[in-house]
Symmetry: C2
Subunit: 407 residues, 2 copies
Amino acid sequence: MDTIPELKRPAFARWLGTTNEVTRRFLGAGRIPGLINIAGGLPAPELYPAAELAAIARQVIEEHPEETLGYAPIEGLPDLRDALAARFSTQALKLGRANVLVTASGLQGLDLIGKVLVEEGGLIAAQFPTYLGALDAWRPRQPRYRHVDLEDASLDPVAALQGAQFAYTVPNFSNPTGKLVGLPMRRALVEAAHRTGTWLVEDDPYGGLHYDGPPLPRLITLSGDRQPGQVYGGPVVYMGTLSKEVVPGLRIGWMIAAPAMIEALVMAKQGADMCTSGVTQRMALVALEGGLIERLRPVIVALYRARRDALCAAMAEHLSDWFEWEVPVGGMFVWAVARDPALDTDRLWSIALKAGVCVSPSSVFDSTGANRRALRLNFTLNPPNRLAEGVRRLAAALKTMADQSHD
Amino acid sequence: MDTIPELKRPAFARWLGTTNEVTRRFLGAGRIPGLINIAGGLPAPELYPAAELAAIARQVIEEHPEETLGYAPIEGLPDLRDALAARFSTQALKLGRANVLVTASGLQGLDLIGKVLVEEGGLIAAQFPTYLGALDAWRPRQPRYRHVDLEDASLDPVAALQGAQFAYTVPNFSNPTGKLVGLPMRRALVEAAHRTGTWLVEDDPYGGLHYDGPPLPRLITLSGDRQPGQVYGGPVVYMGTLSKEVVPGLRIGWMIAAPAMIEALVMAKQGADMCTSGVTQRMALVALEGGLIERLRPVIVALYRARRDALCAAMAEHLSDWFEWEVPVGGMFVWAVARDPALDTDRLWSIALKAGVCVSPSSVFDSTGANRRALRLNFTLNPPNRLAEGVRRLAAALKTMADQSHD
């Protein structure tokens, strides 16, 4: 019976071959003992409101057993959708339940938007460099990318958006660069989206993490201002999450968009996981209604501001011969660009790993993998002394690399 | 500024246009007041172990705050993967952590398998009729289908599997037909998968719900028997879930397969939602380790067996002129096939909805929508008196339809 040799298994889909090597190794590198991880976008676990969330978890199941333990509506729990609609409404921006989809994390939102808007070879106009998770989410759709540099003063937003299925932006403290998109560019992007019809995705996980100065208006708010008082039907697709301001472990995110877009996303969500857990959705609702985000924010902001300053101080002491950077006004990351365009940060990444520090090389934020001149450094996970030690190890790796080059 | 008219928004992806009308209406029909819903595959909520799960929820967050509230590993919590590997191992079938991926529900597993194996136009050999959720999960990949009738005694399993990317089966109490695939066909399918190389997906949400007689061996167990004692590397991809045997609201499922397949699925999971909630994963682990499934099973089985009998008795009284069916030996569904091949169950579905009962027409379990001769009736959600009333309403709808045809 076993004498007939087995045939080869069918090939995996082509997109699985498109992940670059560094990305694979990068994702596996986080668990080396003693390693200082300043690569990820992880919140500080000492800030998790564990006791409060433990009590909420028990409460929501006891008080709402059928809603939390049964299948939830695909769109999300009605009360949570209403609370999110109210939270993001302004005087001009009118949002109702039909504008809201609850997702299992911001990343799921990216998967869903790819499914509903991208055929194989479809065009995405993506803020460049681009969040690694977004590139991963869209890989199975095999899109083409148009790189959009929102810091380029000569950028024509209409030309940037025209003909794309959607434009992807992280206006608040972009991942990976930590940059804040200013008000004139925000207005220009929204204007371009309305002019061209192109959907404009506003991915906003870090919007609450501003350390210097007030927040700028959201793109969806600016879009809503154009048709005040009407239920929102414009081109902006706003995405938020609890991951960076409360905890990642609930896996709760949301999308706010025109009802027609929400309907399409619901069809995709139905085929992705049917619904999000009623337990974590109800927990999110209690957290939102109880003002948990607002109570946590000053604590988080103070801690992260101090850590940003500690990282930047250590960088100024040890890295300024090799790299230049701006001190970010919010978010989780510093983007360091090599002064020498020939410095290869993929190579540096490997050497740094051996020196005991993991950083994010710029190649993973480029769909082509070609950008090898920068690093993304995270300052939220580690306390100041670990950040300083991580930077010292990185500087040692730079010296090792320089010595190797001179051999 | 607003005088320039907005251009049309980019088109949604083509697959969104392929959902049939009945499916759309069917999914929206569940919330009509007074309606008796025997359409879905919903467990009986009175069996949810709410008090126990509420206590577990609090406990897991208090005892494991970083693991439950932080980002979990993409593959799932190591302890949960180990527990699942141990649970499904047999003397011959050797499973380790590398064989297991935790998913956010069985449905997510279907989405992931589509992503890693199907290019546009790729071929899936699917047990026919086919679970609606599987068709939904694979729609964005735009596959072709080969219908495989596992009740056809003349079926050649090698011919059925040859050349397909994977074969999809629900051996235990298939959704929608409730049929149990017998041992000879199980052996033949596994043999064919080994011969052809084709991946063989064993979707097993109902495996614990057998009402008459003992369970049959799983396909993955039969496959493991061929290479006893080696870490499993064969062609079967086994999928399970807590949804039907504990509660759906935790959204916890699992995939057990060769490590190479798990690695590919992990890449897809990374771009789908990054990870599943640590809260619900730890809850699943405590439930599994505490024997919750084994304690619940006799209660669930007794209740569902009685409801199956009640539904079938009502059907025998009211529907036997129009339909024929087999009493299912497990699962959640009775599959009723019209005696008259011209009877249109899509039309009946609409009339029945007006008569106050929602059933599942066979067209939604056919990727072409052409199969309009059968109904799927669920017996797990409603108590016997509601099941009987639902069947009476269905009989009234059949009489209305007959009267309309005579006009």
